[in-house]
Amino acid sequence: MIAFIVRRLVQAALVMLAVAFIAFAMFNFVGDPVAIIAGQDLPAEQRIQLRKDLGLDDPMPVRFARFVGNAVQGNFGLSYRTTQPVGGMIAERLPATLELSFVAALFALFAGIPMGVFAGLYPNSWISRLMMTVSLIGVSLPTFLIGILLIYIFAVLLGWLPSFGRGEVIRLGFWSTGLLTLDGLKAIILPAITLGLFQLTLIMRLVRAEMLEVLRTDYIKFARARGLSNRAVHFGHALKNTMVPVITITGLQLGAIIAFAIITETVFSWPGVGLLFLQSVLYADIPVMSTYLVMIGLVFVVINLIVDMLYFVVDPRLRAQGARAGGAK
């Protein structure tokens, strides 16, 4: 078990290093930091001096090491656009994105899994067919279109919910939350549905497919032959076996939610890191882009680690394998 965790941690660190290298490369090969910091008019000698002061003449490994060292301390440099520290800009906007993603993920999981189980158990019922058809439409509708439609229906036509912003937020130390005010809760409904809907359809279709697959296996047939009740077969045997692949994909999907928040935040003018990232892409604001990349990379690595740990809990075969062979998948 410990060997397995250590192995996974090393892998995670390697992935993070690779991501950091891409971020570093973006810094280094796109744009001239000297020109951006000091403007184009600087005399040549001062320019060279500034290059030296900034450490840009050092060999690449040294610069990369410095980059990683700074990043670990939360120092990602200054934004080209606002000349503020990038770390602070992101930290300020992170709570908005995390709250939105969290609510969207809960929505996707708690609606998607039961719907998928139902559609898998009763594939021929009209409800299942309806859910499958609607889900296909859901997969085909781009997120931004869903957002626009929801705004049109619930904000413009019905006037029930706000069409943009976070509503009223409360500051709790460094964290600003919109989940504690009625206004803030109303504001998060439409964005969260927009963001979660695509994941919901994916999770539902996946759970259904896995459920159908598992129901065809020999051990399910044998469980029936032993006379177990439908409930025991479906919710005991089938569901538990469905969970292994579902955990993997769902984990990755939840990571994707934070990245997909870019679109939702744009549609709803939600003041999160996604909107910040979009603005930085439009201004070619490399420090913000590379920091965002590192942040998303970190989210994925952490989620992957959690998924691997969950495997251990669910699948006894992996536990044995992990103890023996260090858990190679």
Binding site: T217, D218, Y219, K221, F222, A223, R224, A225, R226, G227, L228, S229, N230, A232, G236, H237, K240, N241, V314, D315, P316, R317, A320
Partner: protein
């Protein structure tokens, strides 16, 4: 066979509707099993033997369905029971063992939990008693240190050991009949005999009847009391195992035996049956075996033979009517 009939299958017909027409997987099959008796069912793959077994425990996979005939357990019809009633029969009255022990056990549950779950489903018992029974069952099927093994997961057992667990599961609620569908095919040759011996011993001790589905005539010869030979969804010959082996009446049975004492020509002994069984969508007119039959004559190509008495057996072959001996 003086003992009362435990299971009776009458004119069973199993159909699979497909887009190119309906396939008849089991056609007009009738057989009986007495209490405590071992009936071997033998035939090539696709002959309908597994399908017959699945129909009896009510686990035909859709779109397969029973199109005609009836199945009676101790005189009571069970083929038309609703799912909730049929499931009380499965495991309690009729147990099942499937081909592949590696896939028959749920990998995420301890074998003990699977046993206890089966016991508690059918028998009024406390959890502690069920667990004691589970350990006892594992001991009965020859698993060493069962107290410890009861808490292990299936992947911690070898293939042969897993099939022993499967047998323990099938016997957990003391069924009167076990349908064993190719119980040893997936196992090592060296282990096959052990499993068959175990199954035979346990069923004798518990007085359990067995329907042993296999393509291995050798296993049947050693184990079964009676044998049914199936071909293309029908029973070609059914009778006491010694009689069928010594004096097969159906040319297909003779072919299956490989070496038959009554055959005089040496080269015929070792000859395999030419060709292969027809696909279910292309069963020939008349006797399904006629294109491959060495003794075929005109009537075989036109009219389908029904099972008719021949000695102690029943045989579906016109040769019997003609009085000829195979």
């Amino acid at each position: 066979m003086g003992s009362p009939k435990l299971l009776e299958v009458r004119n069973l017909r199993v159909e699979f509707p497909t887009r190119r027409g309906t396939l008849v997987a089991v056609d007009d099959v009738s057989l009986e099993i007495a209490a405590g008796e071992v009936l071997g069912v033998v035939g090539e793959s696709g002959a309908g033997k597994s399908m017959t077994g699945a129909a009896i425990i009510g686990l035909l996979e859709p779109p397969g369905r029973i199109a005609a005939g009836e199945i009676l357990l101790e005189g009571r019809r069970i083929d038309n029971l609703p799912y909730s009633e049929m499931r009380r029969i499965r495991g309690r009255q009729i147990g099942a063992i499937f081909q592949d022990p590696l896939t028959s056990l749920n990998p995420l549950y301890r074998v003990g939990d699977q046993l206890i779950e089966t016991i508690l489903t059918h028998l009024p018992m406390s959890h502690a008693d069920a667990r004691r029974r589970a350990v006892q069952l594992l001991a009965d099927v020859g698993i060493p240190s069962p107290e410890e093994r009861v808490d292990h997961y299936p992947h911690q057992f070898s293939g042969g050991m897993r099939q022993r667990v499967v047998i323990a599961l099938a016997l957990a609620a003391e069924p009167k009949l076990i349908i064993a569908d190719e119980p040893t095919t997936a196992l090592d040759v060296s282990i096959q005999a052990q499993i068959i011996t175990l199954l035979k011993r346990l069923c004798r001790e518990h007085g359990t009847a067995v329907m042993l589905v296999t393509h291995d005539m050798g296993v049947i010869a050693e184990t079964a009391d009676r044998v049914a030979v199936m071909y293309a969804g029908r029973i070609a010959e059914i009778g006491p195992v010694q009689d069928v082996i010594k004096t097969p009446h159906h040319p297909y049975t003779s072919g299956l035996m490989g070496a038959i004492p009554s055959m005089t020509h040496k080269h015929e002994r070792l000859t395999q049956i030419d060709g292969s069984m027809p696909r279910l969508n292309a069963i020939p007119q008349g006797c399904a075996f006629n294109p491959r039959c060495p003794k075929v004559f005109d009537r075989c190509r036109v009219e389908r033979p029904e099972p008719m008495p021949a000695g102690s057996s029943e045989v579906a072959c016109w040769l019997v009517k003609e009085g000829a001996h195979v």
